[in-house]
Every structure is written in C-alpha cells, then in structure tokens.
Amino acid sequence: MLTILFDGIAYGMLLFVLAVGLAVTMGLMNFINLAHGAFAMVGGYITVLLMQRLGMPFLLCLPLAFAGAALLGGVLERTLYRPMYARPHLDQVLFSIGLTFMAVASMDYFMGSTQQIIQLPDWLRGRTEIGSGSWILGMGHYRLFIVAVCAALTLALQYVLARTRFGSRLRASVDDQRVAAGLGINVNVVFLSTFAVGSGLAGLGGALGAEVLGLDPTFPLKFMIYFLIVVAVGGTSSITGPLLAALLLGIADVAGKYYIPKLGAFIVYSLMIAILIWRPQGLFVRKGGK
C-alpha cells in the first residue's frame, strides 16, 4: 500500500522533471514545443554514451546531460525556434513535431534502435523497508534518489521564478515583450536562457529516467503524451501546478496498474478527462495575465 504510494510519487516526480521544461516554454513563453521529449532523449543518450564508452560515474553524467541538452536547446533556440515565436500555434506544432521525428530517425541511425541499458552504481541499487504487514513501505534506493533530486529542483525553480531578478524579468518579458524591451530587458537573452534551461531539465529527466522508463529512439513519441497530460492538467502558469499534476498522475498510474491491471493503462487518461471537464484550464490558473 505505502510502497505503491511511494513508487507513484517517485514516478510522478520523474514525470515532473521531464515535463517542467515544457510547462515553462508553453506557459511562460507561449510556444508549443512538442520536441521537448527529444531533448530528454538527448540527455538520456549522453548519459548512456558517457557511461558505456568513457566509463564515467553516473553522478557526473547527470550534470553533463543537463548541460548537453541545455546547450543543444540554446543553439536550436537561436537558429530554429526564434523565428517561430511569432507564428501561429499550428505552425509551431508542425515544426516541433517534425523536429521530433527527425530526432527519432537520426538516433535510430546513429545509436541503433535497441533499448539502452545503464549500470547504476551499487549504492543506488537495493532497497530499504520500514514497517511490516500491509503497511510495509519498501523504498528502492534509486527511487529515493529521484525523489530527492526532484524535490531540490522544484525548490530551486520556484525560488528562481518567484524571488530572483531573472524570474521577474522573465515574467515581464512574457506578459508584454515590447514594454519589457522598452524597460531595458534584453528579451532575446531572457528567452534564450529560459529555453536552454527548460531543455536542460528535460535532458536531466531523460538521464534520470533511462533506468526506470527505458531508453530507445522512440522515447520522445512514447512519453510526449505524458508530458502533455502533465502540462494540460497542471496548467502552465506556475511550477506547483505541473508538480501536483505529475504526482497525481504518477500515483494514479502506478496504483491503477497495481490494483486493476486490466485497466491500468487507461486510468491516466480517464483521470485527465475528468479533471479537464472539471477545470478546463488546468488545476491551477493564474488570475489575470494574458
């Protein structure tokens, strides 16, 4: 019972790290980036390559996966994404989904389409159990690690967005680009760094998730639907919305598969539909704004 809850939380946290970058680009920058999963895949493959070919330790790979995906995100923002900001949403969707398919095909070509396997360090394997009987709580060490990393990230993000100068500049740029630019904010730089960080977070999520979710070239397509659900249910105006949505989805998914295996895969979708009927704008909507 508690074990299922814990697994659900860990799964949800992982979904959150994967999707939060999308929430930022979609909600704050008003850009629909369906290639988000591709950045996550890049992060995963960076980890796999560094570990398999260079024998780097897992912990070192995580920041490198973040950096690699962020760098790629930055370069693509400057070259491909920026001209698309002013275009209608449909164009953005077609453009980014095209990018996704290109990423899938090229990963397939360069890395082969088999599942990539990574070997975790020993201290991340194994599991701790507390309690007994039906209230037993079993925690896999790796899942604990995921929860810890994600919690730290959430706090950091919330702090940056709500309290720092950069956060207020970003919010200002989003609400009205022209006025923000007039106030001396370099909107291009703000957007560039935001997009890079969003992609980097996806990369980190991919690196963390390679062990739990599996990693192959179809990763972006397989998980795009989950990202979109997180963002749609959570709303895109804050960090807490997607976080709660991701937790809810993670728990519902794991518990559904445990208690009603026959329906397991559908629970998530039914939940999403129910929530969206109840609150079409997502669970948390910022009052005012655009």
Binding site: S113, G140, V254, Y258
Partner: protein
C-alpha cells in the same frame, strides 16, 4: 548501312537483349526477406539478416543451376507495411519465396497474400501458435511459445516450485505462454495464484512486480519479448523479489543471448526453457557461433538468428529437391517433412502442421569465461507445438 537495315539491326538487337534479360530473369530464384530493421524490434531483423547472409556465404548463391537473390526490405515492425511490401515483392519482384516476419501480426497480415499467390512463406521469428493455420503456404522454422513454455512448466514442480504468479506481455505470444503454462503447471500439481498481463509498450514493471511480490509465490513465470527482458530483470532485483525468496522462471526470450551480457549479475541463476542457446554444445553450433561472430563484429547469434539460418536451409533444400523447376506448390511440398541437424540440435518440419518440431532445453544462466550464457542442463526431445493439439 541504309536506314532499313539499321532499324532491322536495332530491333533485332533489342529483341536479343530483351530475350537475354528474360532468360537471365528465368534463371534467378528470389527470396523476399521482410524484416523489422528499424524500430523497437530491429534486433530481430538484424539477427535474421546476418544469419541469412551467413548461410548464403557458406553455401554459395547458385542452387540447382539458379542464382539465388536475397531481397531484404524493412517493414519497421508494422503490419500494414509488411503487407504492402509483400504485395510489391510478389507482383513486381516476382519472388519465389517470402520469408522473415519478425512478429505475429506481421505474419498474419501477409498470410492471405501467400494463399492467393501460392507463394511459400517461411516464418523465421513470429511465435504465436496459430500462425501456421492462417495459410496452407506457411512453413515455420522458429518456434512456438506453447512449445517452449511446457519445458519450464514441467521442470518447476519437480524442483519445489508449487505456487506461481505468471507475468506476460499482453499480446498473442504472451497470452499463448500464459495459457500453456497454466494448463501444464496445474496438470503437474502446481497452482497459478495470479495471472498478470503487462501492456506491450509498458515503460515500468514496478507496480506489476509489486503485485507479484505481495502474492508471495514460490516463483514468477515471465514472458516478455526479447529486449524488455533486461528491464524486467533489473526491476525484479531492485524490488527485492529475489531476497523475498521468489524465483524467476521464464521462456528464453527473457534471457535472450543478444542482450544477456548487458543484464549483469542479476541474471545469474535464472532458469528458462527454450529451443536455442548460443552455448548449445554441438560441433555444428560451435562452428555457427564462431562464423556468425566473425562476420558480424563479434555479435552473438540468438534464437532469431538460428530461425533465419534454418529457414534459409529449408528454402535451399526445397530448391535442390525441385531441381529449380517447381513453382510455389512444388517448393512447399519439398519444404514439408525436411529433417536435418540445425545449430540448435535435430529439427523436423512437420509435414502435416508445417510447424517445427524440435528439442526444448532447460537452461540456467551461468558465467562462462567472464560472459553470461544460458547453459543447457536438461533436454526434452522432439517437442511438437502443443497448441496444435487443441
């Protein structure tokens, strides 16, 4: 040269050329190999392609005076693509034999085309029992899941495993495995306390394995398609099922030779039953594994490769028997009833069901010379697909 003679000469030259071409075409024997070369099941395609090419390299490409030509196309593991490509191969390329078929739905989608065009169809991988019943032109050289499942269902109760939860991927072969295991295991005096089906594209085994753990069985019987095996195995250890005293028994797909080495220590000791292991002890297999590795940068052949290798042999032998003259019917007749020694041991293409009859081995994962292998320790001789009895 005046104009008329020039035209005559040109026409004659064209006719002669066309004739020569037609003659050359008559003298070719085309095998259309449909395989998933990209997508999640690409490893199946890669193994079979390598094995088919190896067989041709070893046995030459001229058989009974005909030049054998292999046409390989990538069906990406999607049934409608397989069907379209098969149609193209029959109509445009005029293939004499269709072969390959990495997954059950791919084979089933193509079966009606084989019947209509009277083209023999050699299934080298797909393993649902019912496939050979989909067309009288299908011959299978791989295996069926019921065939390899009964081995472990017989072995388990003899070794103190009485209570089992089965965990299978939710598609044709998985359901075949689940049903066969339950029937056989119950017949042998065991009980299946729960049957869990996992979606085929499931990212995370955690909740399902937790369910298994809470049921506290002696063992879990698993079938997942090759590739997902390593994820299952890791989760099995991470969830502490081994420490809770639950054993893992499975069909050989889970400990596929292709990925076994990457699974690491968690795989050691897992008991499976299957028809082929790269560690099968026979001179023929040693030669096969060595040649396969040499031609493919040290790649280890798995059960898919052996299905492709034997499939090519069945086609070659049929062509020899018909002396290169026969059409589809004659080729099919020559494929039925072939008996020969394969790298996996003696095999036999049953003339009546057109399905393969072979030995099934019980194996345990062991470390041999620093590498993980499925080491065979028991043989069940000449197993016919039990699915056909029903």
């Amino acid at each position: 040269m005046n104009k008329r003679t020039f035209i005559q000469a040109a026409v004659m030259a064209t006719v002669a050329l066309a004739g020569a071409q037609a003659l050359a075409q008559d003298n070719k024997f085309r095998i259309g190999l449909l395989l998933p070369m990209t997508g999640p099941f690409a490893s199946t395609g890669r193994q079979i392609e390598a094995a088919a090419k190896l067989y041709m390299a070893q046995n030459g490409d001229t058989v009974a005076g005909k030049k054998v030509e292999l046409i390989i196309k990538d069906d990406t593991g999607t049934p409608d693509v397989t069907k379209r490509l098969a149609q193209e191969m029959i109509v445009n390329d005029k293939v004499n034999v269709l072969a390959g078929f990495g997954l059950t739905p791919l084979a089933l989608a193509t079966a009606p085309l084989a019947t209509q065009s009277k083209t023999p169809m050699v299934v080298m991988a797909a393993a649902t029992s019912s496939i050979t019943q989909a067309s009288p032109y299908i011959v299978r050289t791989s295996f069926t899941l019921p065939q390899v499942t009964i081995g472990v269902a017989d072995w388990a109760p003899r070794n103190g495993i009485k209570k089992v939860v089965s965990l299978v991927s939710d598609y044709g072969p998985g359901i075949d495995a689940e049903r066969t295991f339950k029937d056989r295991f119950t017949f042998n005096g065991g009980t299946v306390v729960d049957a869990v089906r996992v979606p085929l594209r499931n990212p995370d085994f955690a909740p399902f394995l937790q369910k298994v753990r809470d049921a506290k069985p002696d063992a879990v019987f698993a079938f997942v398609p090759s590739g997902a095996g390593s994820a299952l195995m890791k989760q099995f250890a991470e969830r502490g099922l081994d420490k809770a005293g639950i054993k893992l028994i499975a069909t050989g797909d889970v400990t596929d030779d292709d990925i076994l080495n990457d699974m690491g220590e968690v795989a050691v000791g897992v008991v499976t039953s299957h028809h082929y292991s790269a560690a099968h002890k026979s001179p023929l297999n040693q030669k096969f594994v060595e040649a396969f590795g040499k031609a493919n940068k040290g790649l280890r052949p798995n059960f898919m490769a052996v299905g492709g290798y034997d499939g090519m042999r069945v086609i070659y032998e049929a062509l020899k028997t018909t002396k290169g003259a026969g059409g589809g019917e004659a080729l099919l007749a020559a494929m039925k009833g072939q008996v020969f020694e394969s790298p996996r041991g003696p095999i036999f293409v049953d003339a009546q069901s057109r399905d393969i009859v072979q030995n099934v081995y019980i194996r345990k994962v062991e470390k041999v010379g620093g590498q993980l292998y499925n080491v065979e320790f028991e043989t069940i001789k000449d197993v016919k697909d039990p699915g056909k009895a029903r």
